[in-house]
């Protein structure tokens, strides 16, 4: 492609118009800021940051409307987590019963190392139970590395409630309506 090079007049070639234009622009910005017409700086700790909805903050575990843990320890988030920040210990033979009727599985321990987490949101995307969500927290600090590894209680307490489709409960209700087999939960 041909790039047209405009011929500069001798006045333009002296570069003075460019200089004067530059002076005007910078002076305008200076005046606007110093008189207060331009206010873009956020004075951070005093003015808290409002994050937009859908902001990817720290991931937390959520409970459903009835206060049950939604996580069923499927370990998909552990698998997909790119920096391997999530570590899950499945219930195994511990005899740990899920605290929710009809879903037989619940993690024995669920740890997220917030220092490794890159806040990508893959765990939220892959979770089939809508149990982990990236909430609004972005400034996580701690005094030791161990402090920043959040365990299940901490994650559940920070996650709050997320009402959703209570799949396992619906299944149980449906099963109990059908008379054919006695259903044990």
């Amino acid at each position: 492609m041909i790039v047209k090079r405009t011929q500069l007049t001798w006045w333009e070639r002296l570069y003075l118009p460019a200089l004067i234009g530059g002076f005007k622009v910078t002076l305008r910005h200076f005046k606007n800021t110093i008189t207060g017409r331009t206010r873009v700086t956020q004075q951070y700790p005093e003015e808290p940051t409002k994050v937009p909805p859908g902001y990817r903050g720290a991931p937390y575990l959520v409970r459903d409307q009835d206060g049950d843990t939604k996580c069923v320890s499927c370990q998909l988030c552990e698998f997909i987590c790119p920096p391997k920040a999530i570590k899950i210990i499945p219930p195994g033979d511990s005899g740990l019963q899920s605290d929710r009727a009809n879903a037989e599985k619940m993690p024995r321990e669920f740890e997220i190392n917030m220092l490794r987490c890159i806040f990508c949101g893959f765990c939220q995307e892959v979770c089939p139970e809508e149990a982990i969500f990236l909430k609004q927290d972005f400034s996580l600090t701690g005094l030791a590395r161990g402090e920043m590894v959040f365990n299940k209680e901490k994650l559940l307490s920070l996650g709050g409630t997320h009402a959703g489709i209570q799949k396992w409960k619906h299944k149980l209700d449906e099963a109990e309506e059908q008379e054919t087999f006695p259903i044990q939960t």
Binding site: H29, T33, I34, T38
Partner: protein, 356 residues
């Protein structure tokens, strides 16, 4: 042994150094604040002293202006870890910041920053060949940067040092040449004499209008300020010649740069804008004995004019993009020097014609 002279000289040196260092510190602050305002942001506005900060109205106001920021910077420079990388040439590494800083202070030795205060002339060294001394010292300033680049024993500082040395010696020539018409017109190499001439005949800028732009551009190049700041361009050379320096040594470089800027501004004020004089209200004559307040006023005028030029330095930084290296050398050798030479010839011819 003229003890009188010695004592007063020492006092003047101390005063000048003190004022200059303070001005350097606050020049840094001014740069940060003015740059911020030009860039639609606010700059440092948080440092607050424990008691003074709580004085109503004035305390927060000063904090908002960032007045105490240089204090924090100074404390930081002292307390930060000052390490020497293992791959550097230690002697030169340690020497370079000092060599970069000292010439700037030496230059102000000949500049008259006021008329008289009492019986003392407000100039540390009233040399008859003041300007020659100045240019000699300015040439020394190259060594600091070159040495820093060489001693750092690393790619980017090396490149920064090389570029800087080439840039500085190129524009030194233009600077020297551009100032000659001033002396042709004034007929005196003494800086005090130049000011007297300007007090009588009006500012030199009216008589040597072409000299001033050339000198201004060369001053930008000498102090490594945008648009000529390739040697330390952060986006291209990491940190240029001061990449490997930390804490106090880096602070010395930094101070050297601002001191150079202040010295350059002082030169410009003295040579082209009348030094400590103002063309009205009798401020263009040296005060009589007893009018010490006029002496102080003269010093104040000088400092004010210097600050204007400092502001210009800072302002231009955000106006123009950086020169590419070949464009820079092209400008220095193929445009500034011929222009300065032409300027000399024309001025010489005009002076000769006017004198005959």
């Amino acid at each position: 042994m003229d003890w009188n002279f010695l004592i007063f000289a020492v006092l003047k040196i101390a005063a000048v150094l003190g004022v200059l260092m303070t001005m350097v510190a606050y020049a840094v602050l001014a740069e940060r604040k003015i740059s911020a305002f030009i860039q639609d942001r606010v700059g440092p506005n948080r440092v607050s002293l424990p008691l003074i900060g709580s004085i109503p109205i004035i305390g927060p106001l000063l904090t908002r202006w960032g007045i105490w920021q240089p204090l924090a910077d100074g404390v930081k420079s002292f307390l930060k870890e000052d390490f020497t990388p293992s791959h550097v040439r230690k002697i030169y590494f340690w020497l370079a910041p000092a060599i970069a800083l000292v010439p700037a202070f030496l230059v102000v030795a000949v500049i008259p920053f006021g008329s008289t205060l009492g019986a003392q002339k407000m100039v540390i060294a009233d040399l008859n060949v003041g300007i020659l001394y100045t240019f000699g010292i300015v040439s020394l300033g190259v060594y600091g940067i070159v040495l820093a680049g060489y001693a750092s024993n690393s790619k980017f500082p090396f490149l920064g040092g090389i570029r800087s040395s080439a840039q500085m010696i190129s524009y030194e020539i233009a600077m020297g040449l551009s100032v000659i018409p001033v002396f042709l017109i004034a007929g005196d190499l003494n800086l005090g004499g130049i000011i007297d001439y300007q007090a009588q005949h009006g500012w030199m800028i009216l008589y040597a209008p072409l000299s001033f732009p050339i000198f201004l551009v060369s001053a930008f190049a000498e102090t490594n300020r945008l648009p000529f700041d390739l040697p330390e361009s952060e986006t291209e050379l990491v940190g240029g010649y001061h990449t490997e320096y930390s804490s106090m040594k880096f602070a010395l470089f930094f101070m050297g740069e601002y001191a150079n800027m202040l010295a350059g501004s002082a030169m410009m004020v003295t040579l082209f804008f009348g030094g400590w004089t103002l063309p009205f209200a009798g401020l263009d004559t040296a005060p009589a004995l007893g009018e010490w307040w006029k002496g102080l006023l003269h010093i104040g005028i000088f400092i004010a004019k210097m600050l204007c030029f400092m502001g210009l330095f800072i302002w231009v930084r955000w106006m123009l993009p950086r020169f590419r290296y070949d464009q820079l050398m092209d400008l220095g050798w193929r445009r500034m020097i011929p222009l300065a030479l032409a300027n000399i010839i024309i001025t010489a011819v005009v002076v000769m014609l006017m004198n005959s």
